[in-house]
Symmetry: C2
Subunit: 381 residues, 2 copies
Amino acid sequence: MKVMVLGGDGFCGWPTALKLVNRGHDVMIVDNFSRRGIDMELNSNSLTRIADINSRIDSANMLIGPIDYRFIDIAEQYDEFKMLVQQWQPDTIVHFAEQRAAPYSMISQKERRYTVDNNINVTHNVLNAIVDVDPNIHLVHLGTMGVYGYSKDFGDIPEGYLNVKVNSTEKDVDILYPTNPGSVYHMTKSMDQLLFQFYNKNWKLKITDLHQGIVWGTETEETKMDPDLVNRFDYDGIYGTVLNRFISQAAADVPLTIYGTGGQKRAFIHIEDTANCVSLAAENPPTNTDKVRIFNQVSEVCTVKELAEIISKQYGGSIAYHENPRKELPANDLAVSNEGLRSLGFEPILLNVSLIDDVKFIAEKVKGNLNKSNVMTSPKW
Amino acid sequence: MKVMVLGGDGFCGWPTALKLVNRGHDVMIVDNFSRRGIDMELNSNSLTRIADINSRIDSANMLIGPIDYRFIDIAEQYDEFKMLVQQWQPDTIVHFAEQRAAPYSMISQKERRYTVDNNINVTHNVLNAIVDVDPNIHLVHLGTMGVYGYSKDFGDIPEGYLNVKVNSTEKDVDILYPTNPGSVYHMTKSMDQLLFQFYNKNWKLKITDLHQGIVWGTETEETKMDPDLVNRFDYDGIYGTVLNRFISQAAADVPLTIYGTGGQKRAFIHIEDTANCVSLAAENPPTNTDKVRIFNQVSEVCTVKELAEIISKQYGGSIAYHENPRKELPANDLAVSNEGLRSLGFEPILLNVSLIDDVKFIAEKVKGNLNKSNVMTSPKW
């Protein structure tokens, strides 16, 4: 299968691109390297030293299989992107090419506006290129669990669609889950859903939207093969996901920082599972186009406090509670269906000490790169 | 009250700006004149000869009251727009600054992409300017009935929110009406709603979203005062709304063209009512910011076939049925609540022969400008 991976130089994109190659697919990465640019803008860095794209591609070709890349800013360069799709003829396009940090999207008008402008225009340009070039291309998009919100009224979280009775007509209908995003970033993923609904309805496009939990870990089977293939590891207050931040804090001998009570229950997934789930979705396109296929891409749920306690118990280190910069419930319950991906063969990697150990090893190996002043940098909203 | 009218040179924006001035408000128009540009792009024209903006503004100042304008492309020039908001200090911003033709938004990738890029970025930039300058500014946005869709399962159309029972929890909740837009244009208004929901939730912005029916007519009390104040009258297949197209066809002695069966029931509103409703909404801001206030801005419902028959009976002229270029139900039922605006004093102008006559007079007076080849130009989707 020929798979184009948009945003294939990023934290989820790169290990997924390698996984796809390792599973026998032909991969073309399209990226504008904006994530590397934002590191400079924020004076932040990956705890791991990531290789430049040419070294990454050369090593991957040598060690794993056929992979190439093109520098295109998809939000800005529609014609170039469309031409590449026309020439390369992918069977599947995997779309990670969005600004993906909630805190970044809430810094100021500049970041809010960039996030909306980039994310919406990339998604829309990709849909248009598919309509214009080949409506049979399967689009696999990385969405987020964060669109659902945490209302008790809605019950356990289904996969994208909620069954309700309309009180005025007493009819039972499946509706797109009414979203309640918690940041501008999450809002863009909720808006993406409306783009998918319409392009599916009007042009019968084949679309899989993966509502992913919070990713932890950094390495996969493939990124471990060579130093040139190593993945990003973000630990800062803006791009570091919560568990990776805790691990870095433990490694740096500073307190683990919980925002609010820690009672926020969230869905988690290891980066190895991200790469495997996206591959499964790509390898098993929807069999009909009656609606957008939505899967929850999550392995398990856990509160932020439970997470901190696992790390603290294992590696020492105190826990410090800080005012929550986000507007969110202090505590919530959460139960999530992940039947869709399980039906395709997904077997989740669960949080456990040996795996966290693995990640901690990374953190320790590279903690010389850790800039302590970057750990607590979340904007307040 | 100081009211900024974005898109205030357009078909709905201009008569609304004049209405607001006539009701004693101070008005600042912001426009990039994109609608005049699209006339050149499509080789279409307004049946009425509209004055240039300077003549419009001079005459309005002389005959009605204080009004000014600035040329700003709000999607592209955030800093300029924000500075104007800072300097001029509006109490209310009325937002018409979106590409508003469904057929235009479905011509090709260029128009689809322009519609999304412009409409989303204008709305988002306006919200950001309000957050950054003064979160007390009341935003009044022109939305569309077209976001609702026409499903029987959902019953009569409420004002923005639908009461449902979640079957898994048996809880009754009001949700944002699950949208089912029929074009890329309508989809952008559906996406706008998500922007409003989030900015209202996070910053408590005061927002009124007016879901408007299909506008007919062209003149208002104010636009009739002077030839320099005359409003646009679009009759082409792209920008002409259905009733205005029928009136032009009758005036030009060509058949009235119905796409599909004519059984499509739609909500209508006269342009005089548009101007009055927006003024009412602006003069009566929401008293709390718990949620976005949504009103249906409609006067009555009627099928397309009924409309054609009124015109045909009165003025002669046959009715010709054409294949429907749109993907939509051949016929539908529709009942719409407009309690919100009625509670503020709105008394709808209903479709009747004398009023249509008034519009027909315009059409006849200016039919020398009518380019017959522009009447049937809708793209197929």
